[in-house]
Symmetry: C2
Subunit: 269 residues, 2 copies
């Protein structure tokens, strides 16, 4: 264990949102950083762990509304490191899964700036923990497939999520599935996923407002998702979640949607 | 943030091995636990974080040499919780990926024992951080597929790792690939993976003895793996790792194998 080094960039996973699900290393580095460049999805309770002397810059690109280009992020990292600061590039979840870390690593390597990657808890792990359903289960699921529903990560808009037939014993974790679950359902049915396959949309796993909604694939197009789901699970591993939905103590999106509609809009964050 | 509850079981991810890559929550729970039931792969430096009053039991099933049955693990968890202890079931990596958490959750549910899952950093994330190669990269890889090479997780021994054709823009992370990489290579070639596809075997990522060996799929059968690789990556995302192998400062399994053979066996842990 050594202190955050001056003139170095740390690509750090911020985990799913709960500050207690940061790694010990990430927590320490945030306290020691000179500059923190963070994505939109990083929560305020995590940013509160940054030392008071540090400069904190949001470099998020929320929903296509680009505030800052990828090239500008590279420039910011490189310039800050060359000025002798310890730079934290903070990404939600794990930096190596849908985080554009590949491009940032190439830029740092080319610039000759020393860097280190600090892994984090990815969204699929925290959503599975929230749902109390294992991602793999030797009885029904021997594989985990992590996909992105976000167009930027796919070759072209409207392209199938999967080319060809999906194996039935796989668990799918679709990150950023978007609001158009009908399009997702059509794509999965086209890949041979049976209509009875359980689907669970999860938002804000690990945070107080965590919620989910579950249905069979045949009903996915009509699943109520009042909050932007951050992840969509598909697979027999979630059969128990479907059966559990009748239980009153489980927070579920339907319930929260009804609750939300009874609250005045200006009282919602 | 609340203290570890008496009479409750926590299924906790221990992460890849480095104690600094535990979550803050896991670290806290380990200090507060009454009983810790851990797998073989959990490192001593992590077990050192357990409080002095706690009972620590290894319930590992190393390489088929079964010391304890899965049913006995369930029994231990349930009995300990019913005696009013805070029970930590500590699993390497993330508990929901190849950790038999599904069966343990079913047993706890059936016994009416309260439980909670605490996610951890999975091996693929820490191995990618070690290799400085992103698991997904919109330029070459839009999907991550997590498989197990271990027979127990597959339907039958000798069965193909993947049924049908694997997409070329996927990154494969094969957990517990075993020593027989020739068998893995044959299986992947049979699934249409091109012989030029980069492969990287990684062992002990995040730990001081971390090492890797890289080759094309065509050479995978002859890859020297003196240490049991914990993970095998396959995909174009690792092209840069192959090209980097000439650099003298990178630890590589070939180099370490030569080093190890020059050390007297009794000085190796």
């Amino acid at each position: 264990m050594s202190k955050a080094e001056a003139g170095k960039v740390y690509l750090v996973g911020a985990g799913p949102g709960d500050p207690e699900l940061l790694t010990v290393k990430a927590t320490r580095l945030l306290a020691e950083a000179g500059v923190v460049l963070h994505d939109d999805l990083v929560t305020q309770s995590i940013l509160n762990l940054v030392g008071k002397e540090a400069l904190v810059v949001s470099v998020g690109k929320r929903c296509g509304r680009k505030k800052i280009t990828q090239a500008a992020i590279h420039e910011l990292m490189i310039v800050s490191a060359r000025r002798g600061l310890a730079v934290i590039r903070l990404k939600s979840g794990d930096p190596m899964i849908f985080g554009r870390a590949g491009e940032e690593i190439d830029a740092l390597r080319e610039a000759g700036v020393p860097f280190e990657v600090v892994p984090g808890v990815t969204a699929a792990s925290s959503a599975a923990a929230f749902l109390e359903a294992s991602l793999t289960d030797r009885r029904v699921s021997s594989k985990l497939i992590v996909l992105s529903g976000h167009h930027a990560a796919r070759t072209a808009p409207g392209l199938a999520l999967w080319p060809g037939t999906l194996p039935e014993d796989a668990t799918l974790a679709i990150y950023m599935p978007g609001q158009n679950l009908a399009e997702v359902a059509v794509s999965l049915l086209g890949s041979g996923v049976p209509p009875i396959m359980p689907c669970v949309a999860v938002s804000h796993a690990s945070r107080p407002q965590a919620a989910y909604a579950a249905s069979r694939l045949s009903g996915l197009a009509h699943l109520p998702t009042p909050f932007a789901p951050t992840l969509l699970f598909v697979g027999y591993a979630f059969e128990a979640v479907l059966n559990r939905d009748a239980e009153p103590e489980r927070g579920c999106l339907d319930h929260l949607a009804a609750l939300a509609s009874s609250i005045r809009p200006d009282s919602i964050e």
